[in-house]
């Protein structure tokens, strides 16, 4: 297991200077629109823009490649299933009762005989791939370009109760520690004779499950100490708690908020009124 760490981009850009609230709105808007759109053209365009913006903002190409590589098997399965079996779905969306077959399998083939890859199915699959890619890549664009401490203050400015925000930031604080502890526990099990490489199936499950038991118990015991620590630091503090870091909306934030809102409203209206973004629609 490799220790995960909160990733950040290596360079300064417009996105690192934006307030987190703006970026959160960006995540919500882009995710929402990606959610709704089923047009492979528009979905692909949106995914491409998000990808380019990630690169511009400093999200490393290596990371993006890793995301694509890890989700590739999923995309492949989506493509195959939609291409082969999407007939009723397409018919329900577009009213088409005949699909444009690009490749038909011989009738005598087991299970898939007579079926084949349809153009419409492939297009629908492309739409699914672009959607999920967009929804995955928008997160690092918003998160990796934000300092955690500023994220915390922004969340408070959004009227999220500080206690909830504190839980979030503490989780990020303790994650590397617990991750390492899980690794030590697994090591300790191996040192008791557990040959992980030889264990398969349900038994392996049992082993991994047993990592969680001491991890949870040790963490809960330590959390009692955390309670005392928090008390000694006057937590949860005054209602007028102050913050070291600031969360301010600047000119760029307001412009982007305006643009995102306009984009969202336009996209929704276009979708429902003109069918822009629907599968088989104008685009």
């Amino acid at each position: 297991m490799t220790i995960g760490a909160f990733q950040t981009v290596a360079r300064d850009s417009l996105f690192t200077r934006l307030d987190f609230r703006t970026k959160l709105l960006m995540i919500v808007v882009v995710t929402g629109i990606a959610f709704i759109w089923e047009s492979p053209l528009l979905g692909g365009g949106l995914a491409f823009i998000v990808l380019l913006t990630c690169l511009f903002a400093g999200v490393s190409f290596a990371y993006i490649w890793r995301v694509v590589a890890m989700t590739a098997p999923f995309y492949l399965i989506m493509i195959l299933t939609q291409a082969l079996f999407a007939g009723p779905l397409i018919a329900a969306r577009t009213g088409q009762d005949r699909l444009t077959m690009l490749l038909t399998f011989p009738e005598h083939w087991w299970l898939i005989g007579g079926s084949g890859f349809s153009r419409e199915g492939l297009l629908y699959a492309a739409n699914v791939v672009f959607k999920t890619l967009t929804m995955t890549l928008i997160i690092p664009l918003g998160i990796f370009t934000t300092d955690i401490n500023k994220m915390v203050v922004s969340m408070v400015r959004l009227k999220i109760p500080y206690r909830f925000v504190f839980i979030f930031s503490s989780t990020l604080r303790f994650f590397p520690l617990l991750f390492q502890e899980a690794h030590f526990i697994l090591e300790a099990q191996r040192l008791r004779g557990l040959a992980l490489e030889e264990i398969r199936g349900i038994k392996r499950l049992n082993v991994y499950a047993r990592i969680a038991i001491p991890l949870i118990l040790n963490t809960m015991v330590k959390s009692q100490m955390l309670e005392v620590v928090l008390q000694s630091k006057a937590f949860p503090g005054d209602a007028n708690r102050t913050y070291l870091h600031e969360s301010r909306l600047g000119k760029a934030d307001y412009i982007l908020i305006g643009a995102l809102s306009l984009f969202f409203v336009t996209a929704i209206i276009s979708y429902f009124v003109f069918g822009l973004g629907k599968f088989g629609g104008p685009a």
Binding site: F74, V128, F179, A212
Partner: protein, 267 residues
Amino acid sequence: MAIGEGVRLDTPSGEEREVKAVGGTTIDGAPIAYVVALAAVVTVLAFIPLSVVIGSGKSFPMSQGIYPLVGWLLGPVAGALANGIGSLAGVFLAPHTSTMPIATVFGAAAGGLASGSMCVRDTRRSLRVVSVVVFVLAYSLYAGRAVLQNGASLWAVLLGSLINWSALLLFLLPTRTYFARWIGDQDLRKVAMGLFGGTWMIAGLVHLCTSAIIYFVLNWPNAVWVSIAPFAPFEHAVRCLVGTVIGTGVIAGLRAIGLVKPTYALY
């Protein structure tokens, strides 16, 4: 015995004072430190994959096995928070590990709320009502979209969503109360039974919430419903086994250590 006969008085010499115990900061009766602890555990376990899910090319993380447990340990609101924030942190740390972050977070939080509201005392009725409404709505949208909008066959959808509607039924029926009672029992075998049944139920509802959102995006065809039908229950049973092993060990440990129990903890 009087003083002077070599017997030491145990009574302190100082004047006894009234102690106004304030305790620590809590969220719905659960110490905030516990919520932090379990949220961090959820995040860690999100990085430990358990098995390959045939049909989607991804493994399921161990955290899915403990979403119900977190609610049983902390209560509904704190459990929902721990699960939600833990999975959110996991998404922030490694966005590529979740097919759809919003689905993951929503499902985890809903699971914590549902499991925490199972408590036998019936004092969390309103939260249970909210949970029921959410789950019934989720299933209606999920199955309804598949059949009515995407042309999937009803039988395929019912078979493919067996773990979801069975979980919903178990939650609506008195089985929910039996599971809760068993989890609170002193006999660890009953605890294990309650954990298995409870995990089937709650993890099934988590799966429902997550899948309802994912399905809205992916709209997989009828053939996929048919193909997942035999495998989903098996994978779910594995999830339940994981939850049972972890839950039994944790509950036995917590009882032995004697940690202060959150107000709405079920164990």
